[in-house]
Subunit: 90 residues, 2 copies
């Protein structure tokens, strides 16, 4: 078993309303950043997971996204491996 750190990015699908992004967009314009044209806000999750291999860790993260972490109707997700942390015993 190795402990892997996975980065999971969940973002609103293109075209769907993103009120939080819109609020930040307006705030940035008000603060003087006139060049800002669009802002989208999603979640960045870091999961530390004990798994037998990189591919097992990535598959588990993919399943977690489909089952819990992302809303398949409104959000897209990306999973990537940040790195192996250390052996997790035995």
């Amino acid at each position: 078993m190795t402990r892997y750190r996975l980065e999971i990015l969940v973002k609103p699908r293109p075209g769907l309303l993103d009120p939080q992004g819109k609020a930040i967009h307006h705030s940035l314009n008000s603060l003087g950043w006139e060049g800002v044209q669009d802002v989208r806000v999603g979640k960045a999750m870091y999961v530390d997971l004990d798994a037998a291999s990189e591919s097992e860790a990535l598959e588990a993260a993919d399943a977690m996204c489909r089952k819990l972490l992302a809303n398949p109707v409104t959000e897209d997700f990306e999973v990537s491996l940040v790195g192996a942390l250390e052996g997790a015993g035995s």
Copy 2:
């Protein structure tokens, strides 16, 4: 002027409490992913910005994080360039 897309990741500093991460951690364990050891949750923001150069775009994003997007006491941030989108006229 070119339009750049920037990815900004804001995450809770190591050691600080992250109740949302803890809730997801427990949910994943309950759903059968016993190998999950830790979860941290932050924000992933995608900012489309008109700027004269890559370095100007990155500096602007850094300033946005310090002023609005991240809490410097509790959060760390990372800015990276996703790519240039298209010329933004003139």
